[in-house]
């Protein structure tokens, strides 16, 4: 399938409508997997026909109608093959108009889809791909392009993900409250991964039409609308906004990475920061503090500093203390060591890194070497710093990171 044309004004409309259409059709036919294929085909039909015929008066109804037709055509073929009366066959004969199906839509459908697509039986990459297509309304080609794999591979990944979901027997309905809260972290994690992938790939001039970070923000906004009282959803949205706000400042003219402490803060998006802080303030006023709220709070402290020297490191350190208790991980410990170094001196920071040397999850990670190098440099041990910058450069799989680390080493070596 060819990529949708460049200036497609209804592209955003289609993305918003897709999960609504899918929800309605999946519920009617009680078949998420086939409905998802049918909706994809309806989207492709829209991309082909709407530029010529204009956007229909009821675009959502149009999509439902086309998707339903695909579903019933598919079922007729199967029935003819099986030559058996089934409840489905009866359904086909009695198929009510698409307007009734549309009227049957539930605002919770998008939420149901999110829970389905972030099912724990799926790998992260499968959940991400399926979420972007089924909930994000993106095309297979767009998703494939974003992850730099062939379209056929992405289509297969999504197809297998749906088979896994089908095999799990999960019905198309909202999980009951306690189960919902248990499964929400998986949903938030997938949205977070989509944002991270988008933010990481916003380096570089290969201007992809698809902005994954923006898509993640959009999907998280939708989730927040559906779960308005959930502090972690609000926290995640705040984290995304507070991080995305720095986007313009993180890349230099030669597409080189500019670290947080060297960024031109005038380029930060103050409106996004403002919105992030408002969201966070509202979220923190609720009872428990979760991992996304804490990460957002840390991002907020950074973003509130007009100059890097104004950064409230003691507050950041306190927040990392909390994060270590709420969601401990080697990366959190690493970041905690950086904050500790800023408050208590680089020697203290280096001391804290030692604990990570024996942690197999992170001992070989480039960031451990990179942080060590940075602290050694601050202590004035240039030779050791150079060595560790180079160790880090050899370990990272990111070209912009590697370039940055090599040039740091070269800078020190040249002094």
């Amino acid at each position: 399938m060819a990529d949708p044309p460049q200036d497609v004004p209804f592209e955003h409309l289609l993305r918003e409508l897709a999960p609504q259409v899918l929800g309605a059709v999946a519920r009617r036919f009680q078949d998420f997997s086939s409905a998802e294929d049918a909706v994809q085909e309806a989207m492709i039909a829209a991309f082909t026909q709407w530029p010529k015929e204009g956007v229909p008066e009821n675009p959502r109804g149009w999509l439902i109608q086309v998707a339903c037709r695909r579903m019933t055509d598919q079922m007729r073929t199967e029935i003819a093959r099986r030559e058996r009366e089934t409840a489905v066959a009866k359904e086909v004969e009695n198929l009510t108009s698409f307007l009734e199906i549309e009227a049957d839509m539930d605002p919770d459908d998008t939420l149901i889809l999110l829970f389905m697509c972030c099912h724990r039986a799926l790998t992260s990459s499968s959940a991400i791909a399926l979420t972007l297509r089924a909930v994000g309304g993106l095309t297979t080609a767009e998703i494939a392009n974003a992850f730099m794999v062939p379209e056929a591979t992405m289509a297969q990944r999504i197809s297998r993900a749906k088979q896994t979901i089908k095999a799990s027997g999960v019905p198309f309905r909202l999980p009951a409250q306690p189960e919902r809260m248990e499964r929400l972290p998986a949903v938030l994690h997938v949205l977070y991964l989509i944002f991270s992938e988008g933010y990481a790939s916003s380096i570089g001039t290969h201007l992809q039409r698809l902005d994954l970070a923006r898509e993640a923000i959009r999907l998280t906004r939708n989730a927040k609308t559906l779960l308005p009282d959930n502090a972690e959803v609000a926290g995640l949205l705040a984290l995304m906004l507070l991080t995305d706000a720095r986007r313009a400042a993180r890349t230099g003219a030669e597409e080189e990475l500019i670290p947080l402490d060297k960024q031109d803060r005038r380029l930060w998006d103050r409106a996004e920061i403002s919105e992030g802080i408002d969201l966070l303030t509202a979220a923190l006023s609720k009872a428990s503090v979760g991992l996304y709220q804490l990460q957002a709070a840390i991002a907020a402290v950074h973003d509130e500093a007009a100059k890097v020297e104004d950064t409230d490191w003691p507050q950041i350190l306190a927040l990392y203390e909390l994060l270590k208790r709420v969601a401990p991980s080697p990366m959190v410990t690493l970041n905690y060591a950086i904050a500790a170094a800023m408050v208590h001196g680089s020697a203290k920071g280096l001391e804290l890194l030692q604990a990570l040397d024996s942690d197999p999850r992170v001992a070989d990670h480039y960031r451990l070497a990179a942080v060590r190098a940075h602290l050694l440099e601050k202590l004035g041990d240039h030779q050791a710093a150079i060595e560790h910058y180079r160790i880090a450069a050899a370990k990272t799989t990111s070209i912009p990171e590697r370039n940055y680390l090599i040039t740091q080493a070269a800078r020190l070596a040249g002094d």
């Binding site: 030669e254 597409e255 180079r390 450069a393 050899a394 370990k395 799989t397 070209i399 590697r402 370039n403 090599i406 040039t407 080493a409 070269a410 800078r411 070596a413 040249g414």
Partner: protein, 124 residues
């Protein structure tokens, strides 16, 4: 016709590169960046990839009891692939010209140029 332009190095070579001045390294990165951009504009660019160093490499030889048999030891002097460009050009000469440009930008390191095998029948 698609050609792959292979850039290889040794551990010593890489260490030597890292020992260069910041300006030299940045200048080199900028030139390679420029070459890739030019190739995109001319429509000859297919792909370019950098590979992680040999410390991150494993050699796999079959399986034992369902577990891959891996070996990560490389002799220090062995040459390893650093990365490559894939270009789509009308003839070998153009591929050599592009390789020459990359070589010139990279202290005249030799670039190995190989054509892709295709499934098309060749006339005899």
């Amino acid at each position: 016709m698609k050609y792959i332009l292979l850039m290889s190095g040794t551990a010593a070579g890489v260490a030597g590169y890292h020992a260069r001045s910041k300006q030299e390294i940045e200048a080199h990165m900028a030139v390679l960046h420029r070459i890739t951009k030019d190739l995109s504009e001319s429509g000859e660019f297919v792909a370019t990839q950098g590979l992680a160093g040999p410390n991150e490499a494993k050699v796999v030889r079959g399986e034992k009891n369902g577990v891959p048999v891996t070996d990560g030891i490389f002799p220090e002097s062995k040459e390893f692939l650093l990365g490559y460009w894939i270009v789509d050009v009308p003839n070998a000469e153009r591929a050599y010209a592009i390789a020459g440009r990359i070589s010139a930008a990279s202290s005249n390191m030799p670039m190995e140029v190989r054509q892709f095998a295709t499934y098309e029948a060749t006339s005899r």
